[in-house]
């Protein structure tokens, strides 16, 4: 699904990301872990063509990302609050994304109904614009919006941060369900090893822009990662 070749990103002589080869298979649930500055967000930004690679390229579903825009129809992402439009109500935002992804109002409504408990009654019909919601509630909106229109690639940067414990558990269930779908490739980054292990079947650890671990999740994974990061 996603093939990364010789990808690097350099800012003023400092290489922040350097991935020689990485293949993410269709249907994989891919967890990216690493300390601050390891290059997680840089990698996701490159996947979304928000920054240009210094060398190499990413091919997603036969589309080279920095050359063509044809990856957009099947990719959805939520990196930070700059993916939200502050002056819209949550409903308007969902419908807007829906229209861009070729979904009608009924489709979007059905999806929202499915995730009603995730919103915990604080999002819909609340007479608030997105800019006035709390950080956690904004995040909920952003995450659910990535599910609109059945995208094949879903990218979530730090989805667990800022969420309350109940919502974290609900989010884990949502991601697990996506992971079970062989058509959907999920990419999740997190500082939280436990959460990532629970939702991913493959974990890659980055350090200073390089891949230092690439493991298929099993019982020993947590142990292995904790030993690795406990320096």
């Amino acid at each position: 699904m996603i093939q990364v070749t010789n990808l690097s990103k350099t800012y003023n002589g400092t290489t922040v990301l350097n991935i020689e080869n990485l293949e993410i298979k269709k249907g994989e649930s891919f967890g990216l872990v690493g300390n601050n500055g390891a290059g997680k967000t840089t990698f996701f930004s490159l996947l979304l063509d928000l920054i240009q690679p210094s060398t190499g390229h990413i091919i997603s579903n036969n589309v080279q990302i920095n050359l063509s825009e044809n990856w957009k129809p099947f990719t959805a992402a939520f990196l930070d609050e700059s993916f939200l439009i502050g002056y819209l109500t949550p409903e308007e935002y969902f419908y807007f994304i829906g229209e861009l992804r070729g979904q009608n109002k009924a489709d979007v409504d059905a999806l929202l109904r499915e995730h009603q408990d995730f919103f915990n009654g604080e999002i819909l019909n609340n007479k608030k614009y997105l800019r006035d919601l709390s950080k956690g509630n904004q995040k909920k909106v952003g995450i659910i919006a990535t599910l609109i229109g059945n995208p094949e690639v879903i990218i979530l940067d730090e989805p667990f941060a800022n969420l309350d414990p109940t919502t974290q558990i609900r989010l884990k269930n949502i991601i697990k369900k996506l992971a079970d779908n062989p058509e959907v490739t999920v990419l999740v980054s997190s500082h939280d090893l436990l959460h990532t292990i629970e939702v991913s079947n493959r974990i890659v650890a980055l350090e200073k822009g390089r891949i230092v671990k690439d493991i298929h999740t099993n019982e020993e994974t947590l142990q292995e990662l904790e030993t690795f990061f406990a320096l």
Binding site: L48, S82, L84, L100, K127, Y129
Partner: protein
């Protein structure tokens, strides 16, 4: 303490996104600033002798009209001077007295261009007064009083910017005074003139402007200090939101999707509402030209000039900040399933629709004759055919993030209309004037109209070609824009 504030301020200035990318603009603004300073110097030093030549007593004449000078100053400041912006939040809990924070934020506004230029008028004028034999002590007292008044106005403007009630109050008062002066019910200048010359004759009267300055400073100080809380002046006011479906736009497909958003953008943010207000004002701008009330504006070229502004108010004010209006969520727009062409053409349509509406609303100019309205129609065609493209194209290079919500903040910037805006509007105006001039002076006025309209139509015809170029520009500027928008102020 002051040292820290100054280094912070300096860093935020040199490290801002617009500093690097807009060097040309900076130079332009510096040149414009120098021009104004030269103008004021000339006025300050020369006005005494100019008035004398016209057989007017210089000092009494100046003191009579000073009140209008200050009124004009308030007006200009309201539209152009930005309220003090300082990143306050991170300072609140640090070991800095609130008084120092507010004093600094207010104190630094005194260094603004809008205060400094007055020095270039009053100081040379006072020197001339002394040379002409006025009593030095009186002149000094007068000069200092004038500067205190200018500084008092500086704070008055800040208050006006924050309190709408004060804005309407002062607006009504000035209007009333103007009207009653015009119909000679009541001549304010008699009293103010006496006051301004008394400041020279009786030097100790300097305490009046001093009291005014101290008074306004402490009111502003009190206002800012009182509002220096996260849930007061620094809080974001929560509006009651209402979901608007705007389903009638669905028939336009993708275009409708974007138009819906743009309509909400315009309606729900103070910054963009200000833009609409400006566009409405522009609609009436033509009155200055077509009523023949100002002699200097009767040259034929001014017709096209006015027509461009009357029909293009929205286009010029809104268009030049495309895509900055979407700066807060540009990463979303760039990663969603959006084609640049759809995005750009929705903005283009928005401007075209607004121009059509302005042209219809401007039909009251028919009162001034068919030729006037013809000029407006020609201006509209040029706006839609050429200027709409130019603003979109130029927008790709303007990488100043717009903080849509900051206007709600007591310390945010509020003016949607600034000096930069004016400068960038110029090239869009000069070309049609030139075309009309060529037509008018070689053949006839109608030929001039035909030339301008013709170029507009050609612009239409090449729309697809131009859009391809603009699209390319946006693509190549995309990464820089994304990086610049990340920086907020």
């Amino acid at each position: 303490m002051l040292k820290h504030f100054i280094t912070l301020e300096w860093k935020s200035f040199v490290r801002s996104a617009s500093f690097g990318s807009n060097m040309v603009l900076k130079i332009f603004m510096i040149l414009a600033g120098l021009y104004f300073i030269a103008l004021f110097l000339l006025l300050g030093a020369g006005s005494y002798y100019m008035l004398e030549e016209n057989n007017l007593k210089p000092f009494p004449t100046i003191t009579t009209f000073l009140i209008y000078y200050f009124f004009a100053d308030i007006l200009i400041r309201f539209f152009l001077q930005k309220a003090p912006v300082m990143n306050i939040k991170p300072l609140l809990f640090i070991n800095i007295r609130k008084n120092s924070i507010v004093n600094y934020a207010l104190g630094k506004t005194l260094l603004s261009f809008f205060n400094v230029t007055h020095l270039f008028f009053f100081i040379p004028f006072s020197v001339v007064l002394m040379v002409e034999g006025f009593a030095p002590l009186g002149v000094m007292s007068w000069l200092i009083s004038m500067l205190l008044t200018v500084f008092a106005i500086n704070y008055l403007n800040i208050l006006i910017n924050k309190k709408d009630s004060l804005l309407y109050g002062i607006g009504a008062l000035v209007g009333l005074i103007g009207v009653s002066q015009y119909y000679s019910f009541f001549d304010l200048t008699l009293y103010t003139g006496r006051y301004f010359s008394a400041l020279y004759e009786t030097p100790w009267l300097i305490i009046v402007p001093l009291a005014l300055f101290i008074g306004l400073y402490s009111v502003t100080f009190g206002f800012f200090k009182k509002n220096l809380y996260l849930d007061a002046g620094l809080a974001t006011k929560h509006e009651v939101a209402k979901t608007e479906e705007l389903t009638w736009l669905n028939q336009f497909g993708t275009l409708g999707t974007f138009l819906k958003n743009d309509i909400r953008l315009l309606k729900r943010n103070k910054r963009s509402r200000m833009t609409i207000g400006m566009s409405v004002l522009f609609l009436f701008y033509g009155l200055l030209f077509f009523t023949n009330s100002i002699e200097a504006y009767q040259a034929p070229l001014w017709k096209i000039f006015a027509a461009i502004f009357v029909t293009g108010g929205f286009l010029l004010n809104f268009g030049q900040f495309v895509p900055s209006w979407d700066s807060a969520y540009y990463p979303l727009m760039m990663s969603q399933n959006i084609k640049y062409r759809d995005y750009l053409s929705s903005k283009w349509w928005l401007m075209v629709i607004a121009t059509v509406i302005s042209t219809l609303l401007a039909s009251f100019y028919l009162y001034f004759g068919i030729e006037v309205y013809l000029a407006i129609l020609v201006g509209a065609i040029y706006n839609m055919g050429v200027n709409a493209h130019i603003v979109l194209w130029a927008g790709a290079y303007i990488k100043t993030p717009i903080d849509l919500s900051s206007s709600k903040n007591a310390f945010g910037d509020r003016q949607a209309f600034n000096v930069k805006t004016l400068l960038l509007a110029l090239p869009k105006i000069v070309l049609p004037l030139l075309l009309y001039g060529i037509g008018y002076y070689t053949v006839s006025a109608n030929f001039g109209f035909a030339l301008v309209a013709g170029v507009g139509v050609i612009g239409f015809a090449f729309r697809n070609k131009v859009f391809t170029i603009i699209e390319k520009t946006y693509k190549s500027e995309k990464y820089q824009a994304l990086a610049a928008y990340k920086q907020k102020n």
